[in-house]
Amino acid sequence: MGHKNPEFDLPLFGDYVLTFNKSTVLMLVITALVVFLIAFISTRSLKLKPTGMQNFMEWVMDFVKGIIKSNMDWKTGGRFHILGLTLIMFIAVANLLGLPFSIVYKDYLWWKSPTADPTVTLTLAVMVTLLAHYYGIKMHGTGGYAKTTYLKPMWWMFPLKVIEEFANTLTLGLRLYGNIYAGEILIGLIAGIAGTGLLGWVSMVIPALAWQGFSIFIGFIQAFIFTMLTMVYLAHKVSHDH
């Protein structure tokens, strides 16, 4: 909200410059670290009779397996298990990271949800779309892929199908971004009011609690939706009966 982004320009070749948002990169790395630590620590002493965190990780695995199985048969979908697992964990953690606080240092916004940045979410969405097309070609061959992706159910729907691909990608990324960004904006507003004085603080305690709780819920739901839609798009390209 009016905070500047700490940007870093990496000149590549000619006059093309690759711009990094240092806070986004930082938060991405923190997210990845948190996810890795959770997964790594909870799978250290694996037992046939699972206890504690292993139970949780196995539940997550089965959950993602269920998502995949609801879209395609396990024989084709099994290869996306790890992708789905990483996606759901990464996005859920990314969504939650911005909730407890945000850090603004010298007017630069450093701590936020990485998924509150459209570049991040759209990158993930584009990655999913490209993967879907890649697997479509791999499973059906180029001809079969073109036919199932663009000419079905009717050949004259070709323009619509092309638009659909872009629309899917855009909505997949922007849905996540919009939810999380809006959540952070509202938290920022509430915090801003709470900072105005005693009256503001008293009046905002309950809304802040409520909105944070709701944001936790939304964070998980959006992670689930992103993973679910990923599998839906993959299934559209991969399975034979679509």
Partner: protein
């Protein structure tokens, strides 16, 4: 700038570097997790699945085996029962036969004994009668000799008298 604001919201320009960073972070995270977390976890889940499957199979096998053993035991029991019945029946029959044998033997023995007794009695009677006859003869001879007063040789007359008495016995 205006387009950027409209499309991507208020968070700033589109940064190519962020896209690269996102992709790189995500892919590295995925590979690391695959190696250190998901792989082993999937392995252990697979292992458990196999264990459960094999346990179920073993239980099924044991159940079948038990069933078979039970059947076997049942048939054995049945066999033993019929055998026992046969034995009892045989024993009963044998007992019957033996009883009959014993009874008939006893009967035969009794008959033999009776017959022997009858014969003995007959013999004795015969003997007694002969003795009585002898006595009668000698008494008669004695009486006759006394009556006649004349010595008659006992040998000569005894034959005569015996004959007479035999005649008298037959006539009786």
């Amino acid at each position: 700038m205006l387009v950027n604001d409209l499309v991507l919201g208020a968070s700033g320009n589109f940064n190519g570097g962020d896209a690269v960073a996102t992709l790189a972070t995500f892919i590295i995270l995925m590979l690391l997790l695959k190696k250190f977390a998901w792989g082993p976890l999937m392995g252990i889940m697979q292992q458990r699945e196999e264990l459960v499957a094999s346990e179920i199979e073993a239980a099924e096998k044991a159940r079948k085996e038990t069933h078979q053993l039970l059947e076997e035991q049942k048939s054995l029991l049945k066999e033993a029962r019929t055998e026992a019945q046969a034995i009892v029946e045989g024993a009963k029959k044998q007992g019957d036969v033996q009883r009959d044998e014993i009874i008939s033997a006893a009967r035969a023995e009794a008959a033999r004994l009776k017959e022997a007794a009858v014969r003995e009695i007959e013999n004795e009677k015969e003997k007694a009668i002969a003795a009585v006859r002898e006595e009668v003869v000698s008494l008669s001879v004695l009486a006759a000799s006394k009556v006649l007063g004349k010595e008659i040789s006992e040998e000569d007359n005894s034959a005569l008298i015996k004959e007479t008495i035999a005649k008298a016995g037959e006539a009786k």
